[in-house]
């Protein structure tokens, strides 16, 4: 018995002795994860959805105005609202949790390339159920992109689809259904955040694999890797197919929006990382400040600094791209690949270094560890 006591005392002495030689760990003061969640919910996610919901409601109104009175003026108005809403969407697309996850919100709003054959079929038959997952790729922003910009070469011919075409009424109905569905889904997600999910989200600050921080970070990285890096740049650049796919760019029919959407999405991702308040200069607790707190100094450079730099590098590389990514991949794909490369480097920093520093698992399977 005495020996054990001696042993424990000895070990106590040893670790005290080692303490001074060891690398410095986190500060003594506790870091409050709940503060991160509050900042995310109250200053970023809910404001972003609130702002986006205003846009989708304007989009829907413009849709109603156009379908009741299909004039060139109303078409242009609707196009402009669509553009604003699509840009605004880049700030909420990554938050696929709560009601958004149940609805599979992002899949309903932004799967591209859109299925034009299916859209035409839906319009012709005038019967469809947009809630079916199989119709995800014939609705949302990309479907509207096609209906507003892609039906014909000239604007007057496009307008003719809604006025003189034999199926003009079906075209109008379908268009109206799409704008109202975007708005309706967005309202559902926003209402859930403000009425229920916000508190659930903030209070779930424990450290299980289904805690809010873990889920949010997983979602965030998934979005960055799959939707931003691959969807907006990698897939059109042919990274996964070997040959560029110029029809797979975001806002393909519009033609001059893909770069704007990419830059907006990079900004939104970096803002989230830094904890910048939505549409204001304020700043709160974030992944950045959490990493700084954990003081993960790596090879002389701070991890959060490395990640921020990589965001900036990706953005400045994207500056070199044409507004129209379709053109870019056809004329000079190397610049597109360069941008991809810069985005890709941050996947490693976020997914490997950051997750390790934060001790977050990259999977939802709550399986046992050793």
């Amino acid at each position: 018995m005495k020996k054990i006591v001696t042993l424990i005392l000895l070990s106590t002495v040893v670790f005290y002795a080692c303490k001074n030689d060891g690398p410095s760990g986190p500060d003594v003061s506790d870091f409050d994860r709940q503060a991160i969640l509050e900042n995310w919910a109250d200053e970023i996610i809910i404001p972003a959805f609130t702002s986006f919901e205003k846009q989708t409601s304007r989009l829907d109104s413009a849709g109603v105005a156009f379908t009741t009175e299909p004039t060139m003026e109303n078409l242009k108005e609707l196009r402009s609202e669509w553009e604003d809403a699509y840009i605004s969407f880049q700030h909420v697309s990554m938050f696929e949790m709560g009601r958004a996850m149940e609805l599979r919100y992002r899949d309903n709003l932004n799967i591209y390339p859109t299925d034009t054959a299916e859209i035409q079929q839906n319009i012709e038959e005038d019967s469809y159920n947009l809630e079916l997952p199989s119709l995800n790729n014939s609705q949302g922003f990309p479907a509207l992109d096609y209906l507003l910009f892609g039906l014909a070469e000239s604007d007057s011919d496009i307008l003719a689809h809604y006025t003189s075409n034999t199926n003009a009424e079906n075209y109008r109905n379908y268009l109206g259904d799409l704008t109202s569905r975007i708005d309706e889904l967005t309202s559902q997600v926003l209402n859930d955040w403000t009425e229920n999910y916000r508190d659930e989200f903030v209070q779930n600050s424990a450290n299980s694999s289904n805690s809010s921080v873990d889920m949010m970070v997983n979602d965030y990285i998934y979005y960055y890797e799959k939707n931003l890096r691959a969807g907006k740049v990698g897939i059109p650049a042919g990274v996964f197919s070997g040959t560029p796919l110029s029809t797979h760019v975001e806002a393909y029919y519009h033609g001059n929006l893909s770069k704007t959407l990419l830059k907006e999405a990079i900004d939104a991702s970096q803002n989230f990382f830094q904890g910048n308040h939505f549409n204001s200069t304020g700043k709160g607790e974030s992944l950045e400040s959490y990493l700084d707190f954990l003081n993960t100094m790596k090879q002389g450079a701070d991890l959060s600094e490395l990640i921020n730099n990589q965001f900036l590098l990706a953005k400045s590389e994207a500056e070199n791209l044409d507004e129209n990514f379709s053109m870019q991949v056809e004329l000079d794909n190397s610049k597109m690949l360069e941008t991809y490369d810069k985005l890709q480097k941050n996947v490693v920093l976020l997914k490997v270094d950051m997750l390790q520093a934060l001790n977050i698992n990259v999977d939802y399977v709550d399986a046992d560890g050793d």
């Binding site: 760990g25 506790d30 799959k226 001790n359 999977d363 046992d368 050793d370």
Partner: protein
């Protein structure tokens, strides 16, 4: 005491009977828990690709029949517990459980391996000679005493597990950097009392050192009669703590229950007495003062021989890493099946590139097309996974019409809080490398040093 004498030494059968009952119950509980968590579906039905152990490529999930496999495993666990058709039950359990573990390397856990080899060992032990349905029915089997070595063999296995786990902790990362506990502990901030302590470096060092000392000394503290009760208290505290801190499943309960085997039979009689009160089993029925006799001399010789060989392997196998160059934590050559439990934190990322050697066209793979996130995570940090997946990608793209696909990987791994480093040589076409147990020279060297065992 001569060896001959030792092998003839008899001891009371109660400890092994209690061990059998608890083992069966815990295994049944584990299987039910596994199924209830939906893991059968998530781990064995949903994925389209499974990682195999070298030499066991033929072991794959059985589709819907996988449920049946778990059912068989669960029922055999129940039979073990009540001691009904014990030999058959333990053989079926060993085979079905091991088959389950071999189906996908992704879910490898040291404690699954422990269960596998423990159940193998138990095939050769007369755990059903006392307080079992078999012994109740069969007077020839019923024995109050069994060979002492049968209980000692379980003790020896536990000693190996703890002691080797302790040896593995004697490395510079664990002892002098408090890694990986420095990463793991702070995220348990929400625990009352401990949560705040876990933010402090001295706590990380304390837990690292205490953990290493615990693993190295606990088997001996359990062996010595004077320290046994104290040691058992430590066992309970240690394992309950790991249960609270880490997603470690049933393992802590299994180890706590197993540690009871170190106590002498008076404790086990109390346990059996307690069980008897509820089940109305007449314990005296089994106290026939008989020594267990093996069915025949050949079976006895085989048992002793197999067990001797088993332990020789168990003692040597964890040291096979010494035959490989390079840092063990980095290459993981000889890492598994060696009681390296909760020893390091590794995260990785692997980006595969397919090149059509005829056209020169190349493209990258979206791992999510083929792997679950859990599989992707495991794959990215372990070279044998990366190679197996590369070969799968080769076959897949050959079927897709690429005559001669080459597979390259750009990969990064972060080990124990170090900055991520390139992992696999990106210049090497992985299709030119075949799976083997030889050293993998296509792993890039580790840019740091970890000293120790």
């Amino acid at each position: 005491m001569s060896l001959q004498k030792y092998f003839n030494k008899q001891t009371n059968a109660a400890p092994l009977a209690v061990f059998r009952i608890l083992f069966g119950m815990l295994m049944l509980g584990s299987i039910i828990r596994f199924a209830a968590n939906g893991w059968i579906e998530k781990l064995y039905l949903e994925p389209t690709f499974f990682f195999s152990y070298y030499g066991f490529e033929w072991v794959k999930p059985l589709g819907e029949f996988t449920y049946l496999l778990f059912l068989i495993c669960g029922i055999s666990a129940l039979f073990i517990s009540i001691g009904y058709k014990y030999r058959m039950a333990i053989i079926v359990f060993f085979l079905s459980f091991t088959y389950i573990e071999l189906m996908d390397k992704t879910s490898y856990l040291n404690h699954y391996y422990f269960i596998s080899i423990l159940s193998f060992l138990m095939i050769f032990l007369p755990a059903h000679a006392y307080y079992s349905v078999d012994a109740y029915k069969d007077e020839k089997l019923r024995s109050q005493n069994i060979p002492a070595w049968s209980i000692d063999s379980i003790k020896l296995l536990l000693i190996i597990v703890y002691f080797y786990a302790g040896l593995a902790k004697l490395n510079s990362d664990w002892l002098f950097k408090a890694m990986p506990l420095q990463i793991w502990l702070p995220s348990n901030y929400s625990l009352p009392l401990l949560g705040d302590l876990f933010q402090q470096p001295w706590t990380h060092y304390f837990f690292s050192w205490a953990g290493a000392i615990y693993d190295l000394t606990i088997p001996f503290l359990l062996l010595i009669k004077r320290t046994r009760v104290f040691a058992f208290v430590l066992v309970v505290v240690f394992h309950v703590l790991t249960r609270v801190l880490f997603p470690i499943g049933m393992f802590p309960y299994i180890m706590i229950a197993s540690a009871l085997i170190f106590f002498d039979s008076s404790l086990h009689h109390k346990i059996l007495h307690y069980i008897s009160r509820f089940t109305k089993i007449n314990q005296q029925w089994f106290d026939n003062a008989r020594n267990y006799l093996f069915p025949n001399q050949i079976f006895k010789s085989i048992s002793v021989g197999v067990i001797t060989l088993f332990f020789a392997v168990q003692i040597l196998f964890p040291f096979r890493y010494t035959m490989y160059p390079g840092e063990l934590f980095w290459t993981e050559e000889g890492y598994r099946f060696s009681w390296r439990v909760m020893l390091m934190e590794k995260a990785g990322y692997a980006n595969f590139k397919i090149t059509d050697s005829e056209t020169g066209r190349s493209f990258y793979i979206d791992n999510m097309d083929f792997l679950t996130r859990f599989q992707e995570k495991q794959m990215a940090t372990q070279p044998d996974f990366i190679l197996e997946y590369a070969h799968f990608l080769e076959d897949y793209h050959r079927q897709q019409g690429i005559k001669n696909p080459q597979v390259y990987v750009e990969s990064y791994v972060a080990l124990n809080g170090r900055r991520s480093q390139p992992y696999i040589n990106p210049e090497i076409d992985l299709t030119t490398i075949s799976q083997s147990l030889k050293h993998s020279n296509w792993i890039l060297p580790f840019q740091d040093e970890i000293k120790g065992i």
